[in-house]
Symmetry: C2
């Protein structure tokens, strides 16, 4: 018959397995982030190349394609290190299925590039292709963010995912602005899209700010006070406030591209810092859990040898009902102090309570992720069935929430519930 | 380099692994449910035995102890079948840690029984002991309910967990009412507690009704229209409306115990039906996923042999953007029809979309579980810091929600957020 100790140790081993998986996933996220950044640049250069009818940017574009291929190889190598042989419960199914999707896109990438090279596709169509591939890569990162069972790690993954997503909107903003300046003429459609991209970007960066650690939140705030940001804001204003049909200075095209690129490169450094912090945290947690496991095993051996152990404590004694002092989640190592002083019952209590507390915190993190997802889904529904743009859909939801004095997520939930009772044909 | 197919198959294998783990967990939940039911009866009989100063119920109690020991052996056997050697990510850590806690309680159970046998402990204290052990067992069931990644299974697990939890409140109601009738005198404390238990019971049964399948919801509704329920309601009224300090007919003690027991036995049959439905669903999903896997593998072999396969489809072609028709989650088998007609890309799309849809539904299920947990946590906080009973804490939250015209969960979240900013000493 398995003892309480056996399960206590098994629980710790599961925790370690989860953390190891997470460390692996975080390496995958890093490689994917680097590749996304390079693809964003390839997209921008392809845009400029197509806008100039292939007169300019040809060399820069080809150099960037070569750079992307190197990073693509790294991403594929990271995919290959994932253990696809041992089936695992949890988010494995979703992660692997996202990867299968991305691999289809990577296999088709040479064809997309050929279409750009030979100018068969328009800038808009090529951009849409790159966006699709990048979205597939972002979905891989998202699955990782959804899998952590340590709330601190989960929080940082959420911050990282939203930052990367925000950077992608910045990349799309660069493409949209470039197209407007290159056309030399303000167009309502493009202007609308630009505003929407700025809006989406800011929402992502807000989530990042809500979930990131203090130092990284401050690092990002400091970067934003930089000169480049002011010059970008000036160009944004020109793009957004020019009368549709009116002229736009094509000479600003290059300045716009450079300003946006500078911003994205800065974002990449913050992204790298986020990823490094995440990796360090994973390893720190892993080291702590490994130490705990060694302690548990030492104690189990002592028990099996019949050595003198502290009393077991009384399970039904009301004194035991008092919750153990909250374990400092930041330093799980210290929390397990000298164990010889403590009863097994206290240990079990503490472990259960620590996991409970982590679970509670995780629920909170998940709840806010969930709310975001529900709002996005309701927006998607409105876009599909009322032919609204994403920006309009968001505005509609916000207006409904204000009118009804309800939270955005409640309104979104009501919209989704409504859709469920519609006959399939009308959905 | 691993292909998209390789990851598609790995994803399916993960799904299968998750379902297998779930089938195992559901067997564990069954055994635990049977043991809880028997322990509830042992608690009731221990109560009656202590209330009669050991004059009555001695034999019935001992017979029930023997019955509990048999079921305990089954639960321990179910614990032993869990694979504690291969560490798994996901909820393994929490599940195993809950089990470690329960094992401590089971090891201490003989001592609790001795205290009852020798009448060293009062009925109230013994009841509290049994409640603690049963709560530990319920926590094991809860971890199972929290682990499913198939929304239909998750919904049924939530229904089952809440039903079992509701039955436990019914068991505590039986004990509280028995104590009141045995004392022969209405006491405000006990009456308050009785009302609270009825209230908690009904909330659990409401969640059950919200998540259960139609047939089982109806089965439960049909059972409640039964005569026993009317007689129970009459006794509840007598208990609740007698003036504190006024007499209670001790002759009703036996009738009350029998009426409550009849109700709990009926609840057990519904619980069994819930568990059977859950097991059947697990096996059905498992069979479907296994068939899908076989199809995928057949196709992969065909591909590796260079056999004629339908076209891959164009990843970047906008026609592919149109979402595949929603897969009927109830019948995943049919959804994968004759695959020879379909491109790999469509297959990948479909698989991703199906998992996405499952994930979306799961979010909804989790969101409502989460809300419940947040409300419970806020109640716990109010109980601890304002010295309120659970019933008062719930009433306070409800009143706040009504006054502020907000949802219960929003008020609960506000209460928790408030606590976070208090200095540790005041929490």
């Amino acid at each position: 018959m398995k003892s309480a100790f056996c399960f206590l140790i098994a629980a710790k081993r599961c925790e370690i397995a989860g953390l190891q998986q997470l460390a692996l996933t975080s390496a995958l996220v890093n490689a994917t982030g680097r590749f996304i950044h390079a693809l964003q640049r390839e997209r921008g250069l392809s845009n400029l190349y197509l806008a100039s009818q292939g007169q300019h940017w040809a060399d820069e574009r080809l150099a960037q394609v070569a750079c992307c291929d190197e990073l693509q190889a790294e991403v594929r190598a990271a995919f290959d290190t994932l253990d696809t042989e041992t089936p695992r419960a949890g988010n494995g199914a979703r992660l692997f299925s996202r990867i299968a999707y991305v691999l289809q896109g990577l296999d088709a990438l040479p064809l997309l590039r050929l279409r750009v090279q030979t100018q068969v596709w328009s800038a808009a169509r090529a951009t849409a292709g790159y966006i699709r591939l990048i979205n597939g890569l972002l979905a891989v990162v998202f699955e990782a963010a959804d899998s952590a069972s340590d709330p601190d790690i989960s929080r940082r993954l959420v911050a990282l995912f939203n930052f990367i997503q925000g950077k992608e909107f910045a990349g799309q903003e660069r493409a949209t602005g470039s197209a407007l300046f290159a056309a030399g003429c303000a167009q309502a459609d493009g202007q609308q899209r630009l505003l929407h991209l700025i809006d989406s970007q800011e929402r992502c960066l807000q989530v990042f700010a809500d979930f990131a650690s203090e130092p990284l939140r401050e690092a990002w705030a400091a970067v934003q006070r930089h000169d480049t940001q002011a010059s970008l804001e000036r160009l944004r204003r020109i793009l957004a406030t020019s009368l549709p049909g009116g002229p736009l200075d094509t000479g600003l095209s290059q300045i716009w591209f450079d300003a946006c690129t500078a911003r994205m490169d800065t974002m990449k450094t913050v992204e790298d810092a986020l990823a490094a912090e995440l990796e360090a945290l994973c390893h720190q947690r892993l080291a702590a859990a490994t130490r705990d496991l060694a302690d548990f095993q030492k104690w189990q051996r002592a028990e099996s040898l019949g050595e003198d152990l502290p009393e077991h404590g009384d399970f039904f004694d009301e004194g035991q009902a008092a919750p153990a002092p909250p374990v400092n989640l930041g330093h799980p190592v210290q929390a397990y102090g000298p164990q010889v002083e403590r009863s097994i019952l206290e240990l079990v209590h503490e472990q259960a309570q620590r996991l409970q507390q982590m679970g509670d915190e995780l629920d909170m993190v998940r709840a806010s992720l969930n709310e975001r997802k529900i709002v996005e889904r309701a927006k998607g529904l409105l876009m599909a069935h009322r032919q609204l743009s994403e920006h309009e859909a968001h505005k509609t939801l916000r207006q409904m929430a204000m009118n009804q004095n309800r939270r955005l997520v409640d309104v979104a939930q009501a919209v989704l519930a409504m859709a469920e009772i519609l006959p399939p044909g009308l959905r």
